[in-house]
Symmetry: C2
Subunit: 200 residues, 2 copies
């Protein structure tokens, strides 16, 4: 692992543990036992590190096998996979609005991805309706709202967990993964219901 990668890993760890308000380049340098200027050889400042971590996170998400296999079980696994990555970079989600306000590149990238994912979800739900797995009697605006609601939960379950539930790692992903999974339940037909096992 090179120094640049080590800086990103140490920074992610410190931001996750202590938040982005507290941690500066000096803290990161101290934690790594290197000099302040050694970090600044690679990154202008802490915001530059945050922007790089965000971009790497997005690249990792895009490489996940999501929207590839279309069964309900695959959808459930995909959600868990995405949530594991979100947990890994949880500081981004806790400080998402502050980061997006400070870094216009993050905000732009977010909006771009949101529009693409929204269309992918609409196509997926259309496919499930065609296959008789999801209900045909629900108006299109309700499906659009569902996608928006999935997005709010997907982006802020980390914050909800910090605020109240305080679960760690695997337990957090399982708990909130189940909330998203069960969000789909009333949209399923009898056939759809027969194809899933509700998590305990």
């Amino acid at each position: 692992m090179n120094t640049k990668e080590k800086i990103l890993i140490t920074s992610t760890h410190l931001f996750n543990e202590q938040g982005i308000d507290v941690i500066t380049i000096r803290h990161i340098a101290k934690e790594m036992g290197i000099s302040h200027s050694n970090i600044q050889y690679y990154f202008k400042n802490a915001d530059d590190i945050i922007a790089t971590i965000y971009n790497n996170h997005i690249k990792e998400l895009d490489e996940l096998p999501v929207f590839k296999n279309l069964t309900l079980d695959a959808l459930k696994s995909s959600i868990v996979l995405v949530m594991e990555h979100i947990y890994k970079y949880r500081f981004i989600y806790i400080h998402f609005v502050v980061i997006a306000r400070r870094l216009p590149s993050v905000k732009k990238e977010y909006a771009k991805r949101f529009a693409i994912r929204q269309q992918q979800f609409m196509d997926l739900f259309a496919y499930y309706r065609e296959e008789g797995i999801m209900r045909k009697d629900i108006p299109i605006p309700v499906w659009e709202s569902l996608i928006n609601n999935i997005y709010i939960i997907g982006d802020f379950w980390i914050s909800a967990n910090e605020l109240n539930t305080m679960l760690k790692g695997r337990k957090a992903v399982d708990y909130y993964g189940r909330l998203i999974e069960q969000l789909f339940y009333p949209y399923l037909t009898e056939l759809g219901k027969s194809q899933i096992t509700l998590s305990k």
Copy 2:
């Protein structure tokens, strides 16, 4: 209006506009044209102001006529009413995790209210099932998840709006109120559906 109230109103305004990382007692004093020590006569520091605003907000929410009238239309109006209050104090929700980490009293109060509201929602949905307005064929854990999901959306629609949609005031409340309203749609029976008009 007394000085203490003026401090709270000015602080809410500044926190909403510029976030809690930037605004100090000095900014609030400058905006009001009074001295720093005049504010400190009433509040120890900015965190003390935030805690007071949070408590006042909770008191206002508790005074709203929510869970009083049980029709679906009343539920919809209640949601909008709560969301208007959330919008008024939107800085709390944008910085909710950071505030809860810094102020244990906020965290404690949040957990207490969450448990009460959760039970109220469970009772409300049980009533709707009895009345034939909501479906009887949905397992209890799915209802529990629904309540948790409503809470995540209720607490973080402000952040989602800041991140992406960027609507102001009335428009923000209408847009996200519709998302919550439509979340209920697939749980409704034919009778339930006949009792609501979906917002456009």
